[in-house]
């Protein structure tokens, strides 16, 4: 079952990469994209959002303000302007995978190291958080 989902989402990535402009409704132009930063499938971002918000998954709202989330805690800083603050996505991922690597006193959950989330789930969270 899991495999099928993965297969489907891979297909989605491929199709949406092909049809991206059409799907997102952004005006189609014939110009070449200026920056070749690969666009991320909105479905992945939506999944990432669900994992981020889910109380039994990331539950990031327990500690972080996120603009679209209800009843946030304030143990960690608000998650805002993430792209500007983390131009390097890998660094953002590392913070989520194991915050204690940078700050041994961190109160944040080491989501990857303690296997609270799967690698795939963390990847999706990163994509979502990066849009904030």
């Amino acid at each position: 079952m899991k495999k099928t989902i993965r297969l489907v989402s891979t297909l989605v990535i491929i199709t949406s990469a092909t049809w991206l402009t059409g799907c997102t409704g952004t005006p189609t132009t014939t110009e070449e994209p200026k920056a070749m930063a690969p666009q991320v499938d909105p479905a992945i971002i939506a999944e990432g959002k669900a994992i981020t918000m889910g109380r039994t998954k990331g539950n990031c709202l327990a500690c972080h303000m996120i603009e679209e989330g209800e009843s946030p805690g304030n143990i960690g800083p608000p998650l805002l302007a993430m792209k500007a603050r983390y131009p390097d996505k890998a660094k953002l991922r590392a913070q989520i995978w194991d915050p204690t690597a940078v700050n041994p006193e961190s109160a944040m959950v080491p989501f990857g190291r303690m296997q609270v989330l799967t690698e795939d789930e963390i990847d999706k969270i990163v994509e979502y958080i990066w849009t904030l």
Binding site: G73, N74, T100, E105, A107, M114, V116
Partner: protein
């Protein structure tokens, strides 16, 4: 050990005081909280999060107008007064009367362990051929509510006797437990109740640990009834996906010993009501 020392650094302990005894620990905790909440008077700490959360406090004061724990006090009084099958009763085990909560926990030299009130109650029952009570839920909370109510105003004065090194060892075990990260979510008690006191996990304001033990048992709206301190310990352990330990087992009793020492000088105000 290294980890614990690092964590103690949160309390701004110097290397010298990291080796400190209970009194230095208590002072360091109080200093930490008073720096964070300079306008909160010392005696307010018995009210937990409501000492530092004006909105929560308003709701709580409204609840206290018709205390939800009252029926449990009454049921506890009945238990206290009702003779056992052998004709004796709690009164015979505790000749000083029901206002005894401030005498626990204490170091029992003869048994070489921390003696808590729930444990003493069950010893009384067993000695009289009665079935012991469960330690987290149920009727133990009635008798504890009655004793807590009768003990209101008594002052906590936990002693770690210098003449028995095992007492200090038990205190140290409790302290180590408090500062050790555990569970899949990797929290120690201190992560929430020292490092982040006053901040919010979702909508819950984290309370200081000074004052944590003054008001048990507690009627929690979430539980819909009164529960024991060790039930709370297991709850906080479960929340961080750590295995909850046995209520009244050695680890939790030592934890209670350490935690209660931190509240020395505060008045008992149980039973309590919390969210």
């Amino acid at each position: 050990m290294k980890k614990i020392l690092i964590t103690l650094a949160i309390l701004a302990f110097s290397a010298a005081t990291a080796q400190a005894g209970p009194e230095e620990d208590r002072t360091a905790f109080i200093k930490h909280y008073e720096a964070r909440f300079p306008s909160v008077p010392r005696e307010e700490y018995v009210n937990g999060a409501y000492a530092i959360d004006p909105i929560g406090r308003e709701n709580w004061e409204a609840i206290e107008e018709f205390p939800p724990y009252e029926p449990f006090i009454d049921a506890g009084q009945t238990m206290w007064e009702k003779p056992f099958a052998n004709g004796k009763g709690y009164k015979d085990c505790f000749p000083d009367g029901p206002a005894i909560a401030h005498k626990y926990p204490h170091w029992d030299k003869e048994k070489g362990m921390v003696m808590t009130l729930p444990l003493a109650l069950n010893e009384c029952l067993k000695a009289n051929g009665e079935k012991p009570l469960k330690y987290k839920k149920g009727p133990i909370n009635n008798i504890l509510s009655y004793i807590a109510f009768q003990s209101r105003g008594k002052v906590i004065n936990v002693v770690v006797p210098a003449d028995d090194p095992r007492a200090m060892a038990a205190y140290e075990e409790g302290k180590k437990f408090y500062f050790t990260r555990r569970g899949q979510l990797n929290f120690s008690c201190a992560s929430c109740h020292v490092q982040n006191t006053g901040l919010k996990v979702r909508t819950e304001i984290l309370s200081p640990s000074v004052g944590h033990v003054t008001h048990w048992p507690v009627y929690r709206s979430k539980w819909g009834t009164v529960g024991t301190l060790h039930r709370r310990f297991s709850g906080c352990n479960n929340n961080i996906r750590a295995k909850a330990l046995k209520a009244q087992g050695e680890e939790y009793r030592n934890l209670e010993y350490f935690l209660s020492y931190l509240s020395n000088g505060l008045e008992l105000n149980g039973p309590g009501a919390r969210k």
